[in-house]
Symmetry: C2
Subunit: 348 residues, 2 copies
């Protein structure tokens, strides 16, 4: 005997991304803001002036990628249980990508899933991490290897938070903007070549372009079964670099910057990208002091670490490689010897 | 500026439940069977005779509700990383409800979600736990408080596994069957009164009825926003009993059995159920040696523990109470004093 079970999908996974000054937010439920001490010190007052809730709690977790782990999740959900948060309660992720990823993951597993909204305070989180519903934590095996797809209820992108952002973090965000342009939009890349993102109006324009691109891709492929994987351009290499340096040397965007240079080198080797284009990308990265060099100590070990990447399967490594600026291809048939030859070019 | 993000839902959440002898299963991917030493000793050979995969691993975790925790999840996902499982890999939950809940949760968070199938080996898991996509673990705050809704790809219900099931576990499964009848189906309840489930044909009939009822309810309300909560009849009380006895005195189905008796007592007190009907339920439970008494030591503490239930919000406790046999109501407006008066009736 066979019983067929068909689930009526609730059409409740759509949400809006507001790119503007933070509006007044009012919630008839328990709300917890998850943040870190640094962001709280700089911006919590501003957020609280815009926020109203039945009960409001602040949960702070330590600042930094090395704390994006199970222990921090335990801290967050423990506090939620202590305050008797229920299925109707809401979390607000208030910080950079680390805070967003952890808050989203905590929301996804607390009592089998509660709502959360994203208020990203770094450029990187604003243009990339806060949009798309990817949540997760790192573990001993690598980055973002434990997690869930859990869409936020809304994303509020307010550029006022960027005024206090250190130069390095700003640049790390620019790296993701450049990534979006190289991957999907040649005109946007040219805009970035011709306009300075330290100018506020240019930055707003770039934010809008990057978020729209991301939203379009995610709408078409929420669970990364195809197109969305292209957004990982630079990330396959970048993740290995972050892991090798124990998530402490480079900011995520910086590692992605180096990763893009590596991906471009491979694309050039394969004849998919010309050296002139690779140079234009490198120059644009360097204009924002984004690192573009990394000394690989052990090419074999570097290559082996690829296998822990979520996009790779068994002995096939999935790589996102540009076919010139504004176009990208996803391939899992690149010859190991060719990849290693290119990696040798980065070896000490 | 506002960007609207609309996610195209993949219609991939439907699956089939096969109530029959296990068919031959063949998978072109990596597969891990998650089980415990007891089930493996009794039935692994049978499963392996029906299973073919590219690579096949056996992951055993300790047997028992007290091991349904983060540590066991860490064991499972650690092994998956060691064997380089990827997004295309598959888990098979092979055991009772504990194995099913943990395997499903591990599948839901491993690399943001991979496939799993359920092959339940206990009556309780066959009639209830394996169907519906609820996954999760316990923690210091209570049962199933961390988890996800993650639907299996398929459920295979083979009654041959029940031949080795201890009497107590069989009865615990019968408790969930009775629950399904009291909640949704008076005729099914009468069938259970008139027919002996130790008879194989009657058992098959009851399995089919229970699974169909569950599938119907879950199809209409996957995320438990309404109707599905009714399936928790007996569970609100049962969870407190399990927590107070540290998940070691009663099997889940046994605690639910006591919980149904408590819920009925409250329904009688409110005049929603007549004493004769409550007695019929109690008698049916007792026919299978399902416990129906529990000595509450501290009524106030018992009541307070309700608040950690996922269905309760703030100071409103959600209770599932029968309106006679075959009908049920969900209420969060029951007066605390009335509930406590009924609980006093169970106090030592």
């Amino acid at each position: 005997m066979t019983v067929d079970i068909t689930l009526k999908k609730a059409v409740d996974n759509s949400y809006e991304i507001v790119i503007d000054a933070l509006p007044q937010l009012s919630f008839n439920r328990k709300v917890a803001i998850v943040t870190n001490p640094k962001v709280a010190g700089l911006h919590l007052k501003y957020l609280l002036e815009h926020l109203d809730a039945d009960e409001l709690y602040i949960i702070t977790v330590p600042d930094g990628e090395m704390y994006k782990n199970q222990e921090s999740i335990d801290i967050i959900v423990g506090r939620l249980f202590d305050h008797r948060f229920n299925r109707n309660s809401l979390l607000i992720a208030f910080g950079g990508g680390v805070i967003g990823d952890m808050t989203g993951f905590a929301a996804s597993i607390y009592q089998r899933g509660i709502d959360f909204i994203q208020i990203p305070t770094t450029l990187l989180a604003q243009v990339d991490a806060s949009v798309g519903g990817k949540t997760g934590i790192n573990n001993a095996y690598g980055k973002n290897l434990i997690g869930a797809f859990h869409q936020p209820q809304a994303v509020y992108i307010d550029s006022c938070f960027l005024k206090t952002l250190p130069q390095r973090e700003f640049s790390a965000g620019v790296a993701e903007i450049i990534k979006m342009a190289v991957t999907f939009n040649k005109e946007f890349f040219e805009f970035l070549e011709q306009n300075d993102l330290y100018d506020d109006q240019n930055l707003q324009e770039a934010l809008a372009q990057a978020v729209q691109t991301k939203a379009r891709v995610v709408s078409q492929d929420e669970k990364e079964r195809g197109l969305r994987a292209a957004l990982n351009y630079g990330h396959t290499f970048g993740h290995v670099i972050e892991k090798e340096t124990h998530y402490s040397t480079y900011l995520h965007g910086e590692a992605v910057g180096i990763g893009m240079v590596m991906a471009n080198a491979l694309a050039c080797e394969l004849g998919w990208m010309c050296h002139d284009e690779a140079l234009r990308v490198k120059k644009l990265l360097e204009r924002y002091q984004i690192p573009t060099i990394y000394a690989i100590k052990d090419v074999h070990a570097f290559y082996e670490t690829f296998y822990l990447d979520k996009k790779s399967s068994d002995r096939a490594i999935t790589l996102i490689l540009p076919r010139g600026i504004g176009d990208v291809s996803i391939s899992n048939t690149i010859d190991e010897a060719v990849v290693k030859r290119v990696l040798e070019g980065f070896a000490t």
